[in-house]
């Protein structure tokens, strides 16, 4: 702006000089002759001066404006600089914010992504290690009252009542996904005081999809009872059915090897499974008819004629999609030489049906034991059938809702079981009786899972059991059982010398059992 102002002023000065010089030259040329023309020139000069004055004033105004504009421009420039700085800071902040937002989005996406539970569990497993050590099992305390109303084979009888407790921890050790160790202890306070027993101790090797090798001491895989129904919290009743109680038809356990597996043969739910096994074989307390079967550990030392072989096949014919429940049909056999080439042979069939609140099961078993010295074959047969129904869906009218809540936890049960055998060994009955203070026999003593009734030792025992279970949780139950003993006449009692005495009249007893059981 200063340059412009300088040029304007310079131009005006030069114009004035040129004009003055021209007037002087013109005056010399014209002289004083033309006064009018001079006046005109003078008038024009005055106008020019006035115009120059106005121009000067205008320039001054313009200069003032220019100065004002220059000052305003400086302020604007300063403001612009500030804005620019602020903008740069804002851009930097925006970039940082965008970066943070991107990180947040990434994290959010990871958080929002559903983590499959198996992945979580696998991670948890890895955290804990590959070896799994698990303790499960059951514990129960019960009270048994048995009304012993009559004598049996001249044994003293007296009604019994007593408390018992039993604890059966199961230890599972899983070093890898192809091998498992299982051990079950049975510890409790029974008729002979505190005792402990090793029920199961075996290795399970998962060879492939369809073959599992079991080696050790295990429940007899004959039928369904010993393997699947004997655990306290699994058994709907407190006692065992007669063929699996104190007059067992087949040994309750075995020491040996099993090969087993299952497969689907049709649609989902249509399965087939097999179990074949061999072991120490059966052993009996005495070489007389009706002698009790003993455990496999005693067989290890007493049995000297080959081993046992057994097989069980089961089929499940109903597809799940039919929604007709699940039906199991099974057949079993167990055979072995029990003494000096004398065979013990047994077979059985079983069924199990479950649908909604209804469950029913049953088994039939027969055994034949070749006897030495020309004694007729010791033939035994036993059976049971039971049913239970959960009252989950039953709503009693005209009662408060709280009462119905209790009713929904109830499961009424009924079971009929029996054993037929020609004879019962007297020594086995004596061994099952208790001896009280002063050496006085106080009668047939109940024990954990056995009501102690003399009628249980009849050659032709029969029992009707009524049960009412109150389920507090799926594995916590208060069980109540009322046993009605209805033995049939017939059969004999056999002493250790082979002397036989007709069984005669067997008292009809009643027993009540109540048990609180926790499966853990």
């Amino acid at each position: 702006m200063r340059t412009i102002r300088f040029l304007v002023i310079t131009g005006m000065i030069m114009s004035l000089a040129i004009f003055t010089e021209a007037s002087r030259v013109l005056a010399q040329d014209l002289g004083a002759s033309d006064a009018a023309t001079l006046k005109e020139i003078q008038r024009e000069m005055r106008e020019m001066r006035a115009e120059r004055k106005r121009d000067r004033e205008l320039i001054q105004k313009l200069e003032a404006k220019v100065d004002g504009l220059e000052k305003g421009s400086a302020k604007t420039q300063a403001t612009t600089e500030q804005l620019k700085t602020t903008d740069e800071k804002l851009q930097a902040t925006t970039a940082a914010l965008q970066q943070t937002t991107a990180q947040v989005k990434t994290l959010q996406a990871k958080v929002d992504q559903p983590i499959p539970a198996p992945d979580f569990s696998e991670a948890f497993n890895r955290y804990l290690g590959s070896h799994t050590f698990e303790i499960t099992g059951a514990a129960a305390g019960n009270f048994i009252y048995d009304q012993q109303s009559g004598a049996l084979n001249d044994l003293h009888h007296a009604s019994q009542n007593s408390f018992f407790f039993d604890w059966e921890p199961m230890i599972l050790y899983r070093p890898a996904d192809w091998i498992l160790f299982e051990g079950v202890f049975d510890a409790g306070f029974g008729s002979t005081g505190t005792g402990m027993d090793l029920s199961i101790a075996d290795f399970q090797l998962f060879l492939n999809k369809y073959m599992t090798l079991v080696a050790g001491l295990y429940d007899q895989p004959f039928g369904d009872w010993y393997e699947n129904q004997s655990p306290m919290w699994v058994n709907r009743f407190i006692t065992a059915p007669l063929p699996f109680g104190n007059e067992a038809i087949v040994p309750p356990s075995e020491l040996g090897l099993q090969l087993r597996g299952g497969m689907q043969w049709g649609t989902l739910g249509q399965d087939f499974d097999y179990t074949v096994w061999g072991g120490n074989g059966p052993n009996f307390s005495e070489a007389v008819p009706g002698a009790a079967l003993s455990g496999p550990t005693s067989a290890a030392s007493a049995q000297s004629n080959g081993k046992s072989i057994g097989a069980r096949l089961r089929i499940y014919p109903l597809p799940l999609e039919w929604e007709m429940g699940r039906l199991e049909l099974g057949a079993s056999t167990y055979n072995g030489k029990w003494m000096n080439g004398n065979w013990f042979n047994s077979w059985g069939v079983d069924f199990n049906y479950f649908k909604d609140n209804l469950q029913a099961r049953g088994e039939w078993i027969e055994s034949y034991r070749q006897m030495p010295n020309g004694v007729p074959t010791d033939h035994r047969e036993g059976w049971y059938v039971q049913a239970g129904y959960f009252l989950n869906d039953v709503n009693a009218p005209f009662v408060p809702r709280q009462v119905n809540d209790y009713i929904h936890r109830l499961e009424p049960l009924i079971r009929y079981s029996g054993v037929n055998q020609h004879a019962v060994a007297t020594d086995d009955i004596v061994a099952a009786t208790g001896v009280g203070l002063g050496g006085t026999q106080i009668g047939l003593v109940p024990d954990f899972g056995i009501n102690g009734s003399p009628a249980l030792y009849a050659p032709h025992s029969r029992e009707v059991a009524l049960g009412l279970d109150y389920w507090i949780a799926p594995s916590i139950v208060w069980q109540n059982e009322f046993d009605i003993e209805l033995p049939h006449a017939g059969g004999v009692f056999v002493s250790s010398t082979g002397a036989q005495t007709p069984a005669g009249a067997i008292p009809n007893d009643r027993a009540f059992l109540s048990q609180f059981t926790i499966g853990f």
């Binding site: 499959p116 539970a117 198996p118 979580f120 569990s121 948890f124 497993n125 804990l128 799994t132 050590f133 698990e134 499960t136 199961m170 599972l172 050790y173 899983r174 890898a176 996904d177 192809w178 091998i179 498992l180 299982e182 399970q204 090797l205 998962f206 060879l207 492939n208 999809k209 369809y210 073959m211 599992t212 090798l213 079991v214 393997e227 699947n228 129904q229 699994v234 090897l257 087993r260 597996g261 299952g262 497969m263 689907q264 989902l268 739910g269 399965d271 499974d273 097999y274 179990t275 089961r314 799940l320 699940r326 199991e328 199990n352 479950f354 469950q359 389920w471 799926p474 594995s475 499966g519």
Partner: protein
Amino acid sequence: MKKQVAAFLLMTATLGSVGGLARADQQMTPAEHRRLFLKGAELWPVYCNQCHNARPPSEKAPVEWNAIIMHMRTLGNIPPDDAQALLEYLKSGH
């Protein structure tokens, strides 16, 4: 005869062990997890209740179900795919 049986069992056990170890290394896809979970949810109330009351998944930690399902697979002769489905359901439902 006894030697032949023993040799057969030994050979089967060896092969089975290798197979078992190989199975341990397998990784399932999410789709396979989902398929097994749904199948297990269908089997659980039927297979378990057949012998005893079905225990809810929350009763045991996932790592515990590993051992328990192995035990039940043996005891119930459960087909291996069904046992795997039950395991996925019980572990996922925790």
